[in-house]
Amino acid sequence: MSPLSTLTPPLKKSSAIGYGRLRGGARYAPTLATLGLFLAMFAVGAGMYPSFLSGQVLLNLFIDNTFLTVLAVGMTFVILTGGIDLSVGAVVALSMMVCASLLQAGWNPSMVIPLVILIGGGLGTLMGLVIQYFDIQPFIVTLAGMFLARGLCYVISLDSIPVTDPFFTSMAQARIPLAGDLFISPGVLIAVAVVAVAFFILHHTRFGRTVYALGGNEHSAMLMGLNVKGTKVAVYAVSGLCSAVAGLLFSFYSLSGYSLAAQGMELDAIAAVVIGGTLLTGGTGYVLGSVVGVLVLGIVQTFIAYDGTLSSWWTKIVIGGLLLVFILLQRLFSRKTY
């Protein structure tokens, strides 16, 4: 409950200046609102189920969502420019399939991992090029990319392929102990590193600032002499790269390749980014907000698993309902007139 009291001031502040134009502090309002809701949710869970209130439950949110975190990071880049990437889920599956099939064929992980990252980045770049140079809407190009990547999964194999490679197995089963008997997986470190790099790129490099400029006003960014074309292609490449990394993390997580894996994960990633406070119109948002968005989606699932009485359909309805609650509260806290 104490986290809530620390949270109240910024919320109040942002709603107080709800009129007028967005001011400095209000830039963080949606993200802070989400963070507050996450903490509230955690408090409610802890109140309802005693074993909920444990550090490991919190850490499991990270362990179980490494891939989604990385996907959301890539998606944040794309959405910041005002675009969208629907292909990420399918590219995750493709990365897993390539990984699993090559490892099965006896390749060395030191060859497979760079190759997978290359394929992901390559697909992303390709989609970016089509979007930029043929001037086709990102929604459609990446939808086609989704079909293509998913289709290639089937072409590789219809059966699920187990991964038995020792490196992958060790990545999957290694436990990095923290204080007490708490632990995290190596994947969490990778995800955290990706988040850190993304944060650095977005806030401390010219490329990152161009991403924001592009989302603010593409035409102006062009007239300001920024490299709009290159940046636009690059964000899709980044998203592709992130999808590939997420695919590797998913491989570590599940030690298999499965052509139907990660279906609909693109919508989870988009939802996480938006819940985290990034506007789909571009220009506003933070990569850390997206991480909070992922945690929110994760805690909703944990909540449902702890409840354990929801039937299949009530699970769906509750997820939808909680999504709605988050959106509405976020609107409430960060209301902006137009």
């Binding site: 134009r21 924001y212 603010g216 006003n217 007239l223």
Partner: protein, 508 residues
Amino acid sequence: MNKIVPVVQMDDIEIGFPGVKALDRVSFRLFQGEVHALMGENGAGKSTLIKALTGVYSIDAGTIVVLGESKRFSTPAESQAAGISTVYQEVNLCPNLSVEENILLGREPRRRGSIDWRGVRARGKEVLAQLHLEHVDPGSLLSEHSIAIQQLIAIARSVEVNAKVLILDEPTSSLDAGEVAQLFDVIRELRDRGVAILFVSHFLEQVYEISDRMTVLRNGCLVGEFMTRDLSRISLISKMMGKEMDVLAELDQAPVRIKSTSNASVVPFIETEGLGRKGSVSKVNLSIYPGEVVGLAGLLGAGRTEIARLLFGADKSDQGSIKIKGKPQKLRSPRSAIDANIGFCSEDRKEEGLIGDLTVRDNLVLAMQASKGWARRIPRRVQDQLVDEFITTLDIRPANPDALIRNLSGGNQQKVLLARWLVTNPELLILDEPTRGIDIGAKTQIQKLVAKLASKGMAVLFVSSEIDEVLRVSDRVAVIKDREMVAEVINDDISEHDVMAVIAGGPE
């Protein structure tokens, strides 16, 4: 001076768009240390020529030589790399980023590959100070500032690069007198430092004040290059318009104001008492009578636009009251204002006026259609009648109702927007900067139209940053200062100076 090699030399430039030749073998030169005005009516090809030089458009034929090197720009980045920096009329910055970032975007100081944010702040402050903008917080969002400040920040951005060539495309259209003077100081400073400056403006006085030389364009063709001091205003206008002097006599500068009939006995159409909105404006006591033009004068950012928006319900008021024809009324939305027979032309034509991808016809009847509701479509026959009528009376060109409005020039777009409200036959028409960024011909037409409308009994609220324009058209002038209405003067041969004195002196 002729011996010196020009910084920029453009020869026989041709650019065509589908169906139109925008530039036809135009040549142009720009020398170091001069302010060169590019003159012409809307649509003469000024913007196109500038965009050819800044790499926004590719040229179809001709040569561009910058500092002795032949260039062919295909992106603004290339042009900027060659030392050419541009400030456009429409602020082309990113509203979602901070002021300092907008100034330094793409050129941020870096340390070991990472942006040096402290350096950004320091440099931002420095540049703002150069333009006497110390009061602007470099860390604030661009969108928090008025259009005028944004425009100055855009100039700050181009000052920052140490450009060889600085292009200012209508930089003053949203600045008030003080800011213009401030800007001109900066321009002279830069000129004396050896920067070649290309200046485009519709304000003749400003052009004569600042420029050394001018190039005149008409209909995409070159008319000629002149020394400013050798060319009289009247002959410049005749060169721009391609008309003889007697035709120009029509465009006299005498007041177009028609003394309104005595309306002492009439109830004001709208009357506000203590009207205001938190964080915006306050204490607005304004009444406008039928058949009267009331001007709103004040410095930029004084709250002129805010008052206009309150009277139209575009923003909700939270203080004071409004009476319409003597009856208290709340204006919660533009719709409620429209239902009360009020019309409003916004100062931001592009963002708040035009529906770019719709035709002139659709744009023109839009407000009327909106107030009828979607279910009752205005019959095509009636639409055609209205559109034809206004195309003729307002001289809208091209006279093609099916042209997309975004393809019209600024002045013609403005006329369509005016017509949008005129067809609804409003009792009060609020015009916020209706003549900004349009050429003299169209400007005079609009001023005359306002006078004519008032003489037919319409109440008009006329907002403009040009005090002389306000004085020419209004019967009364309300003076705004620091987001409050401070005075109301009957426009009885008062001068610009008088109004300035009120602004300077505060409430009487």
